[in-house]
């Protein structure tokens, strides 16, 4: 099992959800995060002063999948989350130790399905 962690633009969330459903992936955890990267940040005006916040809002998606699903999921995210402009985000993958479904106590791959 592998955790896929994708940091994406706010407005791409619905599209990614749809893409995952198409792949029959139904589990995901979403976190509101702030990202520092190469994009230039957001400029706030406050009585004439201007503050540029280097941190821009992003969603972090965490999707734990069976190993054979990793590449299709990455491909799907790449397709719908890309705008081509700086700030599209990153995908990271991590090896998992174990997975347990709390409701049933099932462990391992069966906990995901």
């Amino acid at each position: 099992m592998t955790k896929i962690e994708a940091i994406i633009r706010l407005q791409r969330l619905e599209d990614v959800q749809d893409a995952l459903h198409a792949l029959d992936i139904s589990g995901m955890t979403v976190t509101e995060v702030k990202g520092m990267g190469r994009s230039k940040g957001i400029t706030h005006t406050y009585r004439g002063s201007q503050y540029t916040l280097s941190l821009t809002p992003r969603y972090k998606l965490e999707i734990v999948v069976h190993d054979h699903e990793v590449e299709p999921v990455i491909a799907a995210i790449l397709e719908v989350a890309r705008t081509g402009e700086v700030g599209d985000g990153k995908i990271f993958t991590y090896p998992l130790g174990d997975a347990i479904r709390i409701r049933t106590g099932e462990r391992g791959d069966t906990a995901l399905s």
Partner: protein, 428 residues
């Protein structure tokens, strides 16, 4: 028949300025002034977080722009002496000739409040009317376009309609059409204009993507609704332009119609959708207030309760029309102010009674009875509705040609607060 005229019908012919009447108009003006910030809250709470400031500014900036334009130009166009019944003269330009001591000169008999107080009271109406429209174009209109459109609107649409209905020489006023406090001038005009504006502007992108559009802060909307109720007492009861029995009747009618409007909407929601909502309570009270506006000083308390119930339940369903007809009236100005204003105007024709206001018998007489009065009311609704709709559509097209009306797709996605104003409503 205009509010001014009815106030006169109410008692013995007054000749001199009355301090208590003047004070009431001053206080009522303050109450109506409060309604525009209240509207900013009411609307502001309903949009998405990223557009809350831009939506609130739409209302606030009317307090800036209209106040100046009113005293410089549109008061005169609305209430200057009119020969043709269509538009007022220019004698009050730049605030000239508006006496702080003597009454507004063109009513017979003269009112009991100085012209200055009358001008202030009317100014507050002129501020909130275009602000009402802003609910329909929220979350996607350019700020420069909004400023241009509304400035033209108050001159080209509002001033004539106010002249027709409220100027003692206005043609609808002359025909004995009843509009106590602005069912046609304020609500129907803004509702019809809202429809034109949102059609001209097009739908929000989020609707195509089926993104949920949820209100950012309904506590703000509830606060706005509460303050609107409070201010509306001034709006309607102040339209008696005196502190007399008609003002009291208008207060009672306004209050109970707001109450029954709320109940009507909540009952429909419960029966039809399963759950009564907080936003439903807020929307219903506003609908009740809209409905009673043309009727306030003409109807009994029980008739007012009826109007509130009818308009409250009707609007609860009317806000669904946009989903079928696919126009994007963001905050339901058409469904509440358009439908509510028209319904109220017609119900006024049906329920107005000389028991409450002696001037109703004049209107009945000049219209050859109840049916004639209802027809006149329908005529007023039709004329004001069509004029506002067509006029506003043309003004939107004009605005599009000059400044543009719509923000770019990426600005819309980022939110108007950041993209147009460089601010964010909340940094929590």
């Amino acid at each position: 028949m205009s509010a001014i005229a009815c106030a006169q019908g109410a008692g013995p012919k007054p000749a001199a300025i009355d301090k208590a009447d003047t004070l009431w108009v001053v206080v009522a003006s303050v109450l109506v002034l409060l309604m525009t910030p209240a509207l900013a809250l009411f609307y502001g709470g309903m949009v998405r977080r990223k557009n809350v400031l831009s939506t609130m500014v739409h209302s606030f900036v009317m307090m800036g722009m209209v106040s100046v334009v009113w005293i410089v130009l549109t008061y005169s166009l609305s209430f200057g002496k009119t020969s043709n019944g269509l538009i007022g003269g220019l004698e009050f330009l730049f605030g000239n000739g508006i006496s702080m001591k003597d009454a507004y000169p063109y009513t017979t008999p003269l009112g009991t409040v100085p012209a200055g107080a009358f001008m202030l009271f009317q100014m507050m109406f002129a501020i909130i009317t275009p602000a009402l429209i802003s609910g329909a174009i929220a979350e996607r209109m350019k700020f420069s376009g909004y400023m241009l459109f509304t400035t033209m609107w108050v001159v080209v649409i509002y001033a004539p309609v106010a002249c027709w209905v409220w100027n003692p020489g206005g043609w609808l006023s002359q025909r004995g059409a009843l509009d106590f406090a602005g069912g046609t001038v304020v609500h129907l005009a803004s509702g019809a204009s809202a429809l034109a504006a949102c059609i001209a502007l097009g739908r929000r992108k989020a609707l195509e993507h089926h993104d949920p559009i949820l209100p950012n802060n309904l506590t703000t909307t509830l606060l706005g609704a509460g303050l609107l109720w409070v201010g509306w007492i001034g709006f309607n009861a102040g339209s008696a332009l005196a502190i007399n029995d008609i003002a009291l009747s208008a207060f009672v009618a306004t209050h109970v119609a707001a109450a029954s409007g709320m109940l009507g909407w909540l009952i429909c929601e419960k029966l039809h959708f399963g759950k009564p909502t907080a936003l439903g309570a807020a929307s219903g009270l506003v609908a009740g207030l809209v409905g009673i506006t043309p009727a306030a000083g003409y109807v009994t308390p029980m008739a007012a309760i009826l109007i509130g119930l009818v308009v409250g339940s009707l609007c609860c369903f009317a806000v669904g029309i946009k989903l079928k007809l696919k126009f994007d009236d963001s905050l339901d100005v058409v469904g509440v102010h358009g439908v509510g204003g028209a319904t109220g105007a017609i119900l006024t024709g049906c329920l107005a009674t000389a028991v409450i206001n002696p001037s109703v018998s004049d209107s009945l007489k000049s219209n050859n009875g109840r049916l004639g009065l209802v027809v006149t009311q329908l005529l007023a609704v039709l004329v004001v509705g069509v004029f506002s709709f067509v006029g506003s559509f043309v003004l939107m097209k004009l605005t599009q040609a000059i400044t543009g009306v719509r923000v770019s797709e990426s600005e819309e996605q980022a939110g108007l607060d950041l993209s147009l104003h460089g601010e964010s409503g909340y940094n929590l």
